[in-house]
């Protein structure tokens, strides 16, 4: 026991030495308050000198404030009419300032800090480039919850994920035999990055993009994860054509189920069969 205590003390001393150089860890707090936070991520939050929080709502921030005395919301950087590119740069800069000051910094992000989350990736890359210890700890993402709530297995037919505006702005190849998951549909088509919502006209453009590959009457599932344990997820089944008329905010994700059966690739199947035959002859 005494040896273990000494060892823990030594590790603690090492941690203190390292922390004097400053460090950054970005953790995911999951999607639902109380349900998803991993023991390791909680430990990072509790042990940090300062925690920067980007959560799904202010109530989750209050929860984090119970784990650490210095929790700073990143919400203050947002402003409608200001480019989110600038907002994200400022968020990264705020975290890096404290890392450079020698503090153990924790970025606590809702969901998974590395899934549809540019700020944690940028902050970690920058910190590492400057020679600081920086890492990411995964969390339960909206994508994970979506699979559970909608009963979807991405391995069954395959699953494509696109940020909605990126799908609109670039020529992407959609595979209608797989699931298609569209993120940030509430700001679909916002080229300025200055809005917190676009609207029906912009979603109609998205519909026009989708109907290059899908029938307008094909199913679209509007999904919103439960962020409080008293909530139920929003699961609204509609059609692609109805998306402009459907209430969709920045929290919503849209899922398009497969629209066509998997197409066998006879040429590849024949090549594989030939290899099988060859193997049988050799054995």
């Amino acid at each position: 026991m005494a040896r273990l205590q000494v060892q823990l003390l030594n590790e603690s001393s090492v941690e203190n030495d390292v922390s004097s150089a400053g460090s950054l860890v970005c953790v995911g707090v999951g999607m639902t308050l109380g349900s998803h936070l991993t023991p390791l991520s909680r430990s990072y939050i509790e042990d940090a000198d300062v925690v920067f929080a980007a959560t799904s709502d202010g109530i989750v921030e209050l929860w984090l404030a119970k784990m650490n005395r210095d929790v700073r919301s990143l919400q203050s950087f947002y402003r409608e009419g200001k480019s989110r590119a600038e907002t994200y740069r400022q968020m990264v800069a705020a975290m890096l300032t404290e890392v450079r000051a020698g503090k153990r910094v924790c970025g606590a992000f809702y969901g998974h800090p590395g899934v549809f989350a540019g700020v944690p990736h940028d902050a970690i890359e920058r910190a590492r480039r400057e020679g600081f210890d920086a890492r990411m700890e995964p969390g339960v993402s909206a994508e994970d919850c979506l699979y559970a709530d909608l009963g979807i297995d991405p391995g069954r037919y395959g699953c494509q994920h696109f940020e909605a505006s990126q799908l609109m702005l670039y020529r992407r190849r959609i595979d209608p035999t797989a699931y298609l998951v569209l993120w940030q549909v509430g700001v679909a088509g916002d080229r300025s990055l200055m809005r917190f919502a676009t609207g029906a006209d912009y979603r109609q453009v998205l519909v026009d993009v989708l109907t290059r590959d899908y029938d307008p009457g094909h199913e679209a599932i509007v999904y919103k994860v439960a962020t409080l344990p008293t909530q139920r997820p929003r699961i609204e089944r509609t059609t692609i054509a109805q998306l402009p008329a459907t209430e969709i905010d920045m929290h919503v994700t849209v899922v398009i189920p497969p629209a066509a059966p998997l197409q066998p690739d006879e040429q590849i199947r024949e090549r594989l069969a030939a290899l099988d035959r060859l193997g049988e002859q050799m054995s």
């Binding site: 639902t32 109380g34 349900s35 202010g58 944690p120 917190f196 344990p229």
Partner: protein
């Protein structure tokens, strides 16, 4: 009286309550002596009112990625 945030955390990590029906939630909230206004906000899924009652800052935005 249990703090509402502590109550929510306990609810979130409790397999018997996480997906409880309204009557069970009401019972749990009564047992924890949660403020009646907070109870109503939780049962009505009025997150704006709940945030105001608990002193949470309203969230401006939740997006943390931009399309390239």
């Amino acid at each position: 009286m249990t703090d509402a945030i502590d109550f929510l955390e306990q609810l979130g990590r409790n397999s018997r309550l996480r997906h409880a029906h309204t009557a069970e939630l009401q019972q749990a909230m009564a047992g924890a002596r949660i403020d009646p206004k907070v109870r109503n906000a939780l049962l009505g899924d009025d997150t704006q009112q709940l945030g105001a009652l608990l002193g949470a800052e309203p969230n401006v935005c939740c997006l943390i990625v931009k399309p390239d």
